[in-house]
Symmetry: C3
Subunit: 237 residues, 3 copies
């Protein structure tokens, strides 16, 4: 196996899983590479895929999967090379070239890495397409009151707010969004959302929500796409 790709593109591909997992099973198929994983608490799921067209060299031999220590792998992004080349050395090791450095990295044993989760099939009644930076900014502010923002979507807009003794929130009017339709009302843990918002940055994102159902955020990355799913916090009554 030998793969060569622009460093910035590979970094984008791993961005959504950055703080979610430290070990990752990376699937290398004939037309794309991809991963799907959940965090240790089984609350959030991240998925990314990157087309083989994103690579300048895409010599994969047989489709396969490799398990990597993400924390170690990300060291490559400090090497300041414009391109990254990944080659297999043997069953248990890859070598990465970047910025003049060579980095021989032991692979993880497939049996010890958590199985890939299935993708739940959800019919979510609400959908918003919007500049992700707007959501990221709101998450920074609403955290001042509590760490469990509620998202309510109806015809008046998408309201994101937290409430304890005080209440702080912002209502995104329909015309601030690219698209806004349906309804939903769910509460989430803010830390997961803030980390994910750092990954999507100012990308155009599509949010799907329901009533006490997971939120799904999808967006394009260079020659690929990423998806983030977060389970709701259900309020006891």
């Amino acid at each position: 196996m030998k793969l060569t790709i622009a460093t910035s593109v590979l970094k984008e591909f791993f961005s959504i899983v950055e703080t979610l997992a430290t070990e990752l099973r990376l699937h290398i198929d004939s037309d794309k590479i991809w991963y799907r994983t959940v965090d240790a608490a089984n609350v959030a799921m991240a998925y990314s895929e990157l087309s083989s067209e994103a690579f300048t060299v895409y010599d994969i031999g047989e489709p396969s999967s490799i398990c990597i220590d993400l924390t170690k792998f990300r060291n490559v992004f400090q090497m300041k090379g414009a391109e990254i080349t990944i080659e297999s050395v043997n069953e248990a090791q890859i070598i990465i070239y970047c910025g003049g450095y060579d980095y021989k990295l032991a692979l993880l044993n497939d049996a010890t890495v958590k199985k890939d989760p299935g993708m739940p099939s959800l019919e979510l009644p609400g959908e918003i397409t919007i500049n992700g930076g707007i959501i990221g900014d709101i998450l920074k502010i609403v955290g001042i009151s509590s760490d469990k923002p509620r998202f309510i979507l109806d015809t008046s807009g998408l309201r994101i707010f937290t409430k304890d003794i005080d209440e702080v929130g912002r209502t995104i009017k329909p015309d601030e969004a690219i698209k806004m339709s349906g309804t939903g009302n769910s509460m989430f843990s803010i830390d997961y959302l803030k980390e994910a918002a750092r990954a999507w940055g100012n990308s155009e994102i599509t949010i799907q929500i329901g009533n006490d159902f997971p939120i799904i955020v999808s967006y394009q990355i260079t020659r690929g796409k990423s998806m983030f799913l977060l389970a709701p916090r259900i309020e006891e009554t």
Copy 2:
């Protein structure tokens, strides 16, 4: 009550009390809003007033006072709105609008917030008017030797210094100041002064000092003024 004001002006108004108090009684009179408070240790006092002319909307009904949690209130300054509107909801709650956000904030019970201190009447024999940045810079340096700088004013200038085994100081010559007159000799805790210096920044400040007496620093803010008073440290002999 409904008050609307430029965010930067309101921020300046609260600047001198920033690290001094977490709870504040804000007086809303027909011609101005103001506060006067002391820190928990009763060592420092801060006063600010802001003319009603600073506001684009100044609809106060009857003069009143409200008690706010300053730490919470200052969250508003992260909302990046150019203007802030404060409205009373009821006796126990205000709502603040800024940057598209709405923030319902519970007021504190007046009975639980420390009574406003009286303003001591002091005749201080020394007075200096100067760019406050000069004092701020000196405070950053003289802290290297001890945390209790002494201020000595006489005809040769204003000397600010600390002394233990070593001695570090700087003498501001009369012609470096806008005005310098009288004499004084007092020692203070540096941390209070450094925090206050961050508030006054490069404003033109007027310092009044005496012999083992408090220091008073006054300066203009946009459409108002701020004052800071700090009790001396008396050296045992």
Copy 3:
């Protein structure tokens, strides 16, 4: 004694010893000032000298040495003056003038400060002259795998790498260096090297290495020179 010098030049002179020692014996000779010291663990040695020509005033009286508290002395570099003047007050005290400040500093008792180490005479078979920034960058990266980089010099270049389960390294080809000759193979503690690399920055440095022998790095400073010597880590077998 009265010495006056540009602040930036004096700062450069002390740079290589910055994190190595807190007390320093400074020799003031007729033609130069200099120090040579080792760290508390006796693993690293730093030497710097500065020609009398670096000074605008160099009035030393008799050659002498003074012992200074480096941590205190370096406070002078925060005073933002372009020039520093050092005068002796008496046997036990100097006064430093910088940026309008005066700083009376107690000297340390010569008897309590560690004796100057001798300079070991070493014949090291490998030598590289190179932009020090290249070495500094490599040290930042190879620390990801372990804290004991090995330097191997042979005709193919200078390889700097760390190895545990993984291996990360970079080989500097002969044509990337200004000069490269001989051979060597030694391992060092990365923290010492990284600190030293901050001191030499992008200066042109000359590295001498051997086989399980110390590394010596020498470079010019403004009107003087600095030298850094670090003992090797010997691997148990």
